[in-house]
Symmetry: C2
Subunit: 302 residues, 2 copies
């Protein structure tokens, strides 16, 4: 009945115009699970790391009631490591290196106790692995999927098979245009919805997010942020907040999905306020609720 998350776990070297950090905890699973943990728990993760992965990171996950039985630790292996440098405007980044290490041969194995998970988040991994996850599960109720340009360009047929099985696809605007081959986002959303997902969320960074489904559109504002320290993980924090909120109250109406999009946006806004996962490590539910009120004030009119 739980919430299961499958994706990457890694260590990041990040350079922004403000600061620089080496070997910081990263990976899609990590950000998703931390964001979701504020709404529901235990959240279960499946991933792979090397034996260089710090016990402190494991401890931090445990402190957030994150179940890591599905975390494979490869003896003698090295953890996935990624380096990037953000540009002056923080909207673009250059990848400096990508050392896949143990992630290269990642084969997600779902522990027996997680096979009945009712909610699943398929983080940004190869579509074939996403399918493999779904095939190990016992009829999950609600499947949320992320992907990226790399798979749209390189594994489109596999990706389309996944899209035929998921409830929600969460991508950004450039990915939506690439996947649909259509520059207009409203038309793009229709084309992508025809590929399978009942709901589509298009994230637009500093411009908020759009939710499509049931012949409706919801436009969520972005939180007005003056100080973005590190955009890494914002999209994953969104997916975690969105799905965690829905898993908490199990109401899958369009009205409640709208609220979930706001909670996703809130977790993304906290994420980018600090380096690495730090922005998601020490929040209170009151802080999250207060930001929900701020979001409503930001966009309400009558």
């Amino acid at each position: 009945m739980g919430l299961l998350i499958v994706g990457s776990i890694g260590l990041d070297d990040i350079e922004t115009p403000f600061d620089k950090i080496e070997g910081a905890l990263g990976g899609s699973t990590t950000y998703i699970a931390l964001a979701a943990s504020y709404f529901t728990g235990p959240v279960s993760i499946v991933g792979v790391v090397g034996d260089d992965f710090s016990k402190d990171h494991i401890k931090m996950l445990e402190d957030h009631n994150i179940d890591h039985e599905g975390l494979q630790i490869v003896e003698g292996g090295k953890t996935f490591r990624y380096g990037c440098r953000y540009h002056y405007d923080l909207n673009t980044r250059d990848s400096l290196f990508t050392d896949l290490n143990v992630f290269e041969s990642f084969n997600p194995i779902i522990p027996d106790k997680n096979k009945k998970a009712s909610f699943v988040i398929l983080g940004n991994i190869a579509p074939k692995l996403q399918t493999s996850v779904l095939e190990q599960l016992d009829n999950p109720k609600f499947i949320v999927c992320d992907t990226m340009n790399f798979w749209i360009n390189g594994a489109l047929d596999d990706l389309k098979k996944v899209l035929g099985r998921v409830n929600v696809l969460i991508i950004n605007d450039s990915e939506a245009r690439l996947l649909s081959k259509e520059p207009n986002l409203i038309k793009a959303a229709k084309i992508i919805s025809d590929m399978g997902p009942k709901y589509l969320i298009i994230k637009k960074g500093e411009h908020g997010a759009l939710l499509f489904g049931e012949n409706q559109v919801f436009s969520a504002p972005a939180y007005p942020m003056e100080n973005i320290f590190d955009p890494t993980g914002a999209g994953d924090a969104f997916a975690g907040g969105f799905t965690g909120y829905l898993h908490k109250n199990m109401e899958l109406s369009f009205e409640n999905l709208k609220r979930a999009v706001i909670y996703g946006s809130i977790m993304a806004s906290f994420c980018v306020e600090k380096f690495s996962t730090k922005g998601l490590e020490n929040l209170s539910y009151l802080e999250i609720k207060n930001r929900f009120v701020e979001f409503r004030e930001l966009s309400s009119f009558d």
Copy 2:
């Protein structure tokens, strides 16, 4: 006590991926006045055209209760003419030619009866001309100003003098970044507000608009449009709808400015649905009100 608009009036040759039109009615004043005319009237315009300017255009303006006593018609002169071609995604355009003609020596002369106008919209013209307009007026209550990259780059000192006198500046996101030398729009807004305008509106095209003022931020969604035929004039239609709505009810609270931003967005959305000014020529107030309800549904959550 009326609403006065000063800016360009011209004829446009427009090419989009869908169609092409030559010698269509254009210019900032035209779009602003038409959009405002659905809320209040008579709206008065000041501008210049040549004697090639069609009587049909004048008739169309009159049909919208637009007072054109301030429209100078230069005998033997040719009307300002502009040609552009929009790219495939409609977000960018190439200018093909700009024949200033009579607009090159435009000297706005405000008719006596308009000198007591309470609301003024300074369309996108040289800041020196905007100042000249303000100096002819008898203490207007509410001044709305547009500008563009060309003046920010080429006449910044003159522009800053205008900004010190206006109530609202309406610009797009790239202009805001250029004017403030700051990529973060929230920081940019603070820098620009310090230049004088009490309120700042940053238009973000397909991503909606932001209103800043009184230490508050309002995020207005964009209307989800599948079929944009011609983006020309959208920003001017926004300014006209925004100011026309405010002039109608004379309430200048932040709450009412939020509504005005929505009415501006509505007029921009109608504008781009047809070529040239056609999208603004035959609207009913009911259509406008209905779209207001659609905007609310698009962005509301609780």
